[in-house]
Symmetry: C2
Subunit: 191 residues, 2 copies
């Protein structure tokens, strides 16, 4: 059996995500992916047992390349730097992110696969690490209950942006949101 | 031209939402709606000029029947009562809500139509009215900046529930979330 090259794998991933973003997960068939990626269905099934496996694998490519966490000396500075480094990618991926959210609410297998392999892990990991450091240096001492909700509060405007009628989301709006919600919840009052 | 009866209109709305939830908006054609609702395409186009018009109209049927706002004497009590009265409908509509979110991020016409006619207006209206009353009776005096983000903070767990790995969302989890995030942002500390 010939293995796919990394380049070919990455083309198939891109073709998969493009179809999911456009048509939605339910209407993206393995046939359509094979056609869009110009390969045979046999090639797809040799590498990925199921459509869910292929989509979850493809989504991992969406993660930005690992970068050092910001370290500005304050939690507010760190969160702003995180937003400025990552929001463009998130906004560009908005259609795909909402397509995957729809798919995850429909398909238990996909939802469980995402929850264990991706989901909000990326954001959660980074935000939580920044908060952990702020706790360690004595900048904040939050109620543990609020910590569990921080990833949700952090990603909400990015995922729900189509519903934000008034303001187009950008780094400034996102940072104002964090200053007004997430940081006060950690005891850092809005300026 | 024969007008559709309210019953027939309502069947067509239901068929439309069922297809959008299952296949996604992009893959829901007027042909498919006509077939699923057992009517002719001409019938659909006589009543609704476009697919967007039909979907937005159908979504308005999702709104719960108008009910009096809770009035328990405290903001916390009122918000909990609101959650208990409405969360079942929201959880049952999760697949459709995420389908619409995907559609709104893809399709400018649908997004603008939703923003002006529905979107989060329903929740926003109720939460904002409850907060206005709490301000009026002197229970809270929040920073105006936070008020703009309350609808987003309120709906986040309901829309993002497929990403919440650990806890299945129900009224208790939702109320704990509100006690830990939304209420403290308004100056009401978690118990």
């Amino acid at each position: 059996v010939t293995r796919l090259t990394p380049e070919r794998t990455s083309e198939i991933h891109a073709a998969t995500l493009e179809l999911v973003a456009t048509r939605g997960f339910a209407s993206t068939t393995m046939d359509a992916i094979a056609e869009h990626a110009r390969c045979s269905k046999a090639t797809l099934y040799r590498q990925w047992e199921t459509k869910v496996g292929l989509v979850v694998d493809a989504m991992q490519q969406l993660k930005p390349p690992p970068a050092p966490l910001p370290d500005t000396g304050t939690l507010k500075g760190d969160l702003h730097a995180l937003v400025e480094g990552g929001i463009t990618l998130v906004l560009e991926s908005g259609v795909l992110i909402t397509a995957i959210l729809h798919a995850a609410s429909q398909d238990t297998e996909l939802r469980e696969a995402l929850q264990s392999r991706l989901a909000v892990d990326d954001e959660r990991g980074e935000v939580e690490q920044l908060v952990d450091r702020a706790i360690a240096r004595g900048e904040i001492s939050p109620d543990p209950a609020v910590l569990a909700y921080l990833p949700l509060v952090f990603i909400a405007p990015m995922v729900l942006q189509p519903l934000l009628a008034e303001h187009k989301l950008d780094a400034d709006v996102m940072n104002h949101y964090l200053d007004t919600t997430l940081l006060p919840l950690l005891g850092i009052p809005a300026a």
